[in-house]
């Protein structure tokens, strides 16, 4: 699909509803992208709480600004589950699937070279050109540059940068498997990490960072909503919308956020889990939906 579709976030009338991830997915790779992600085994030696906060920020669209934010792109769009999205494709930005021109004026003027020169998206589980040793601070500087210069995001707090660096340092391949399911549990885990991360950032006196993660939590609820398609799941979609609007109206206070999460886990999450097989997280349901999306052609 194309970037223009991504930016509008509102498809033209009477086209089949699309899942957001398809906006930056190469044609023919839809099923794989929606059902699977690269397997990631996190290094337990890196502080788990920091890693969890970093993972939440890694999946937060509001970390970026400009056109990236308008397209709801986040770090994980290119680095699926912290690794590499081989199916990433945006017309005008990508060459081959799995590549992106990050020096395009489309995203930022700070690093533009006015040339179409897409590069392969790196796998963050593999050693890269940036020194990851905590003592050097090179990874922290690199991440800050990505957010602020490459994708015109607001200046992140030091705690956000530290958490993102911890997450990237913890990302590793899994010896026994190449991929893992992209299931409801993945989205619920990220939702949980986003709200918990907002509480952590509030404790660190970073309300702007907390706001980024509250928006990320609402964004995650929206992604779950997309998968709960069809008239049978309308009640669940209403519950998700109510939860999102409730979260938006909450004051940024530790106790209120914790209470919201507890209520969601008690009242909404179990129903979602029970309905997963009826939703587009289920391979058979998704296959039917993809056939409809492609005009009924198998």
């Amino acid at each position: 699909m194309g970037l223009s579709a991504a930016l509008s976030a509102a498809p033209p009338p009477r086209t089949a509803p699309a899942l957001l991830a398809l906006t930056w997915t190469a044609p023919g790779r839809e099923r794989a992208v929606l059902l699977e992600q690269p397997a990631t085994c996190l290094n337990p030696a890196v502080a788990p709480a920091q890693v969890r906060l970093g993972q939440a920020l890694f999946n937060a669209p509001d970390l970026f600004g400009g056109q990236a934010a308008r397209a709801a792109l986040n770090c994980a769009s290119c680095h699926s589950n912290g690794r590499r999205n081989p199916a990433f494709f945006l017309s005008g930005i990508s060459g081959e699937p799995g590549s992106a021109d990050v020096s395009s004026s489309f995203f930022s003027l700070a690093r533009t070279n006015r040339q179409f020169d897409p590069v392969a998206i790196p796998d963050l589980a593999l050693p890269g050109k940036i020194d990851r040793a905590p003592a050097s601070g090179a990874l922290e500087r690199f991440i800050r540059g990505l957010i602020v210069e490459e994708f015109t995001g607001r200046e992140p707090g030091a705690g956000q940068i530290a958490a993102l660096a911890s997450y990237v340092r913890a990302i590793g391949p899994c010896p026994a498997r190449a991929t893992e399911p992209r299931a409801l549990s993945s989205d619920l885990q990220l939702l949980n990490a986003s709200v918990a991360g907002a509480v952590t950032l509030l404790d660190q006196q970073d309300p702007a960072g907390a706001a980024v993660l509250i928006k990320a939590a609402r964004f995650r609820l929206g992604l779950i909503d997309e998968r709960m398609a069809g008239p049978k799941l309308a009640k669940l979609r209403r519950a998700l919308l109510t939860a999102s609007l409730g979260l938006a109206q909450l004051p940024l206070q530790r106790t209120r956020l914790a209470a919201w999460l507890a209520t969601f886990d008690r009242d909404v999450a179990p129903s979602l889990v029970r309905s997963e097989r009826q939703s587009l997280y289920d391979p058979r349901q998704l296959d039917r939906w993809l056939i409809d999306l492609q005009g009924g052609k198998k």
Binding site: G2, L3, S4, A5, L7, S8, A9, A10, P11, P12, P13, R14, T15, P61, D62, G66, Q67, A69, R70, A72, L90, S91, G92, I93, S104, S105, F106, S108, L109, T112, K215, R218, F219, L221, G222, D225, L240, L241, S244, L245, A248
Partner: protein, 273 residues
């Protein structure tokens, strides 16, 4: 209040149907499709022109005149439409109007001198009008503009938005207008035509592009945000708030467009609540 009702037809789909039919010389089908487009976006000059050209393909010069006049009104620089309109006038026996149109083309050629990029196109248009005035058979009167593939449209779109980010609004407008030929009235293209014109201070033109975008896609978040910003810029805070309310209704899971418009309204000096 912003409209929330979707048009009866998807004008982007209808435009592509019209193009395919036109290229297959199925002019009846093309006429039908282009009529559906202009019913939603009457300001889309390529669709008006192609409707007129399709009617000419059916030798219905009388009915071709109205959409061709609309095309020229919407885009006075469109040589194809001026040529087709002059030929239609001539075929209907209105020599005075045909001659006036031809003379306008001659004046344009003189103004841009022989070396301007459109010189050959203008020469061909003048020759076609002269042939029609002399009573000759109609020549091929299809678009000289390339109707590029959809993939190329996406690239054009990225290039245009990149130019906008660089503050180069006029070349961005030229690219987006060119893309309207192949993409039809795509709401993203219309929205950024509005945006670029707004940045140049062409508020009236910007408003008409935003309205066109919202006619095609009433829930288009970018168009709602930017039209709200235009309202604010022109002192219509109430109008901006109406567009913000619409965005908040659409963005139950949050969206950057509502956030941005909310900030703009707040920065304009008054509380949004």
């Amino acid at each position: 209040m912003p409209s929330t009702s979707a048009p009866a037809y998807d004008p982007v789909v209808e435009y592509r149907t019209g193009i395919a039919a036109f290229e297959a010389k199925d002019y009846k089908k093309a006429v039908n499709a282009f009529k559906h487009v202009i019913a939603v976006v009457p300001s889309h000059a390529p669709a008006q022109y192609l409707l007129g050209a399709s009617l000419m393909g059916m030798a219905d010069f009388k009915r071709a005149i109205k959409p061709l006049e609309a095309a020229v009104k919407a885009d006075s620089s469109m040589i194809d439409a001026q040529r087709a309109l002059a030929v239609s006038y001539a075929r209907q026996g209105d020599t005075a109007k045909a001659t006036a149109r031809r003379d306008a083309l001659v004046a344009r050629k003189t103004a841009c001198a022989a070396t301007c990029p459109a010189a050959a196109q203008i020469d061909a248009a003048i020759a076609a009008v002269n042939a029609a005035l002399a009573g000759g058979a109609p020549q091929a009167l299809g678009p000289t503009q390339s109707l590029r593939s959809l993939a190329a449209v996406d690239v054009t779109y990225v290039d245009a938005v990149s130019l906008i980010n660089e503050g180069r609004y006029e070349p961005a407008i030229a690219l987006l207008e060119a893309a309207l030929w192949s993409a039809g009235p795509h709401p993203d293209l219309l929205t950024y035509l509005g945006y670029a014109n707004r940045k140049l201070g062409n508020y009236g033109i910007a408003g008409s592009w935003y309205r066109a975008a919202l006619a095609v896609a009433p829930n288009h978040r970018g168009a709602l945000e930017y039209y709200g910003e235009l309202k604010l810029q022109r002192g219509d805070r109430r109008g901006a708030l109406a567009y913000l309310a619409r965005l908040e209704q659409l963005c139950g899971f949050g969206c950057v467009q509502a956030d941005a418009l909310r900030v703009q309204i707040a920065e304009a000096g008054q509380s949004v609540s």
